[in-house]
Amino acid sequence: MRKPPRRKSLLAQSLCGSLLALTLTLFMQFAHAIDTEAVFPDNPELRQRYDYLIHQLRCLQCRSETIADSNATLAADFRRQVRESLAAGKSNEEILKFMTDRYGDYVLYNPPFKPLTWLLWSAPVLLILIGGTCAGIVVVRRSHLPDNDSPDLNPDELDQGAS
């Protein structure tokens, strides 16, 4: 598993007191948190846009998570960026473009719909169409054949059961 960077300050290196104090000290030094309700408490519309945007951006340290789910330090920085941009009045598109300008399309969790990804997005429907057409041809052809049993079928296979 990829781990977020840890600061190896001298304070952390020395075992001072109980392990609990050590733990809290380590965390308090950078105090990164999964966001609290302090994010736009008075503005539900901005909060909603914030929740949407943080699920659209990928954490570049823990790469299979969004910045919403990751507790890596970089994810916290990105969330701060989104918060500040929203507070400054930027639109969703502008905020996402800010990130892709700096990090490329990879930072978007949702692959963009560009010529490069047309194949990806059309894959489900294409596959069904191709498969369905082949199946259709098979079915039409077979429906014209007599439905006698296959010569190599064992006699005891011809039971009335379905399965």
Partner: protein
């Protein structure tokens, strides 16, 4: 009849891709800023909190920006190489101290040596985001016009310096003339 060859045909194509893909570097993200203007910043110096340093200090000549932190193991690995490069005096090294603490950073430079002409202090990582940084160390080559020519992710080695940075540096210098 030929349709029975489709499965093996598709499979062969798949294997081909995997073969090529085995040796591709999965970790590195290609930089979105190559060929674009280096994002400007103005921050306090690591060594001297009262002094301001920024990209404008290097306007008109090429420089190398190295993103580092005292917490970063890879930075420790590449430090000796950076000192060597600094000694060669081909191009100034500009450090961006990323998401670090001032005293830890100062101690690091004191203990291990300082290859940087200057190091800017970016504790919150804002300048880092502007430069598309997602980890340390990262090293950028910027030309005299302020255009980012190249980015290297992971510790610097002499080999990479000579193979990827020097040729571009010389080319940029030649074009200026």
């Amino acid at each position: 009849m030929l349709r029975y060859l489709i499965p093996i045909g598709l499979f062969a194509a798949l294997v081909g891709f995997f073969f090529v893909s085995l040796h591709r570097d999965k970790e590195t993200l290609p930089s979105a800023l190559i060929g674009k203007t280096a994002p400007a910043f103005h921050l306090s110096s690591v060594q001297d909190p009262t002094k301001q340093v920024g990209t404008s200090d290097f306007a008109g000549h090429p420089y190398v920006l190295n993103i580092w932190g005292s917490w970063c193991i890879g930075c420790r690995e590449e430090h000796a190489v950076l000192l060597q490069i600094a000694k060669r005096n081909e191009v100034p090294l500009f450090g961006l101290n990323w998401k670090d603490e001032r005293d830890a950073a100062q101690q690091w430079l004191q203990q291990l040596g300082n290859p940087y002409t200057e190091s800017a202090f970016d504790p919150e990582g804002r300048a880092g985001i502007d430069w598309g940084a997602y980890g340390a160390p990262e090293t950028f080559l910027v030309d005299a016009n302020g255009t980012i020519l190249h980015k290297h992710v992971a510790p610097m080695t002499m080999e990479i310096w000579e193979r990827e940075f020097l040729p571009r540096l010389r080319q940029a210098g030649a074009q200026r003339q």
